[in-house]
């Protein structure tokens, strides 16, 4: 099990720590801020939080002492010539060397080389030739998934689709072939797909998974082609949470929701579904989870490491299960609505 779970909520950040056979909760830290995502940077142990406030805007906080003291980014914003303003910060991802990446709304990406104090907007994405075809989803036009592997970057934006960069973020190629956009006039447009979460398998970097507004998909060629998988036994193709097993690229976990209209667990049951054959079939891995629950798990609400899978619900519970999903334990309950869960070893 992870030693520490930074849990972002609508009412601040909570640190959920392994404590013997149980878990201990510290927080709220950063009260007053909606914490869309928080990580512990494995390179130096710095705790970063993508923080948003309806009055004071979108920013990033960092702490070098695991939340005892905080610093805030000096400036994060969009250039005047873009005609855009930053609406929210969504996801923080460590990159190569000292790089730190930040995804935000409206479909923007920033890079920091000074540990998150200052941020430069990524022009390749800001000025992407397809930007006028993008549109916001229910959570805004958020750049929520950032993956870096072997010099290649992947991002996903709701609802612009998934993009790949092979030149360090200078240019971005849409990778949405055969990914449905049922809400779009064209069912399979070049861009405009509503990706809810995109992950690259850490041990098999050509393999990508995505939970989309319109299905669950896997790619084995860096996103050039996608195979739809939710029709192989999931109760719904709609959902947000996605987790993998770093030791087995054929394993994935999703938490289906009823539909795009009803954002609660499919069939009124909090069900995690697992595949161990690359999505050819899915099995309910629900032991220990409530059979009657109208919970919801947001796109940053799932995490995993080599030993376990974790997710947090909008009803304030954090659930954990060993890899395999044999049995779930409610680690914490009665937190504020959970926006994000990450696993950290500190």
């Amino acid at each position: 099990m992870a030693a520490l779970l930074p849990v972002g909520t609508k009412k601040g950040l909570f640190l959920v720590r392994a404590n013997g056979s149980g878990w201990k909760v510290e927080g709220p830290l950063l009260p007053g801020w909606l914490v869309y995502h928080a990580i512990v940077d494995p390179r130096d142990g710095t705790l970063y939080a993508a923080t948003n406030n309806p009055f004071y805007g979108a920013t990033v906080h960092r702490s070098s002492d695991l939340g005892k003291t905080w610093e805030r980014a000096e400036e994060i914003g969009l250039p005047e010539d873009s005609g855009l303003k930053l609406n929210a910060t969504w996801h923080i991802e460590p990159g190569r060397d000292s790089e730190l990446w930040l995804g935000g709304d409206p479909g923007v990406l920033f890079r920091s080389d000074d540990g998150g104090l200052t941020w430069d907007v990524n022009r390749g994405l800001l000025e992407h030739p397809t930007r006028e075809k993008w549109q916001p989803g229910a959570g805004g036009m958020c750049c929520h998934s950032i993956q870096l592997v072997n010099g290649t970057m992947y991002i996903a934006i709701s609802a612009a689709g998934a993009f790949r960069s092979d030149d360090g973020g200078e240019s971005w190629q849409p990778i949405n072939k055969d990914v449905a956009a049922d809400f779009h006039p064209e069912k399979y447009p070049e861009v405009g797909q509503c990706v809810h979460k995109l992950l690259v398998h850490p041990g098999k970097p050509d393999r990508l998974w995505q939970q989309n507004h319109c299905g669950v998909y896997r790619s084995d060629d860096r996103g050039d082609n996608w195979e739809r998988l939710d029709e192989n036994g999931l109760p719904s193709g709609f959902g947000f949470g996605l987790a993998l097993d770093p030791d087995d690229p054929d394993v994935a976990y999703v938490i289906p929701e009823e539909s795009q209209e009803f954002h609660y667990t499919a069939g009124g049951r909090l069900g995690v579904y697992r595949t161990d054959d690359g999505g050819a079939s899915w099995t309910l891995a629900g032991k220990g989870l409530p059979e009657r629950a109208w919970a919801a798990v947001l796109r940053e609400g799932c995490s995993f490491d080599g030993s376990a899978v974790y997710f947090g619900t909008q009803s304030g519970s954090v659930w954990t299960a060993p890899q395999g999903g044999a049995s779930w334990t409610e680690a914490v309950r009665d937190l504020p609505p959970i926006l994000s869960v990450e696993a950290a070893d500190v």
Binding site: L30, N53, P54, F55, G57
Partner: protein, 86 residues
């Protein structure tokens, strides 16, 4: 000197300090001196829409806002707009 009073979330950005005495002749001059000044303004330098500023109990949005003059005894309160419910 004018005094600026801050709500808890902003005070936390300054180590918990809720009140600042500042040498300033306008609201804008006072706000820009505060350690969390970049939370008041968006990237175009505009005061964020849901931040209200009261000078001696009077809403500065009804006056000259950032250009609203301050006296030596002015009390400036920064207040988030009433937009609750979540």
């Amino acid at each position: 000197m004018p005094v600026v009073h801050l709500p808890a979330t902003l005070a936390a950005e300054a180590g918990g300090q809720k009140h600042f005495e500042l040498e300033a002749t306008t609201v804008g001059e006072a706000l820009r001196q505060l350690p969390m000044a970049n939370l008041f303004f968006d990237e175009q330098g505009e005061l964020r829409r849901l931040i209200n500023v009261y000078v001696d109990g009077v809403d500065a949005r009804g006056g000259r806002l950032l250009e609203e003059p301050l006296s030596e005894s002015s009390e400036v309160r920064v207040v988030g707009a009433v937009a609750g419910g979540s």
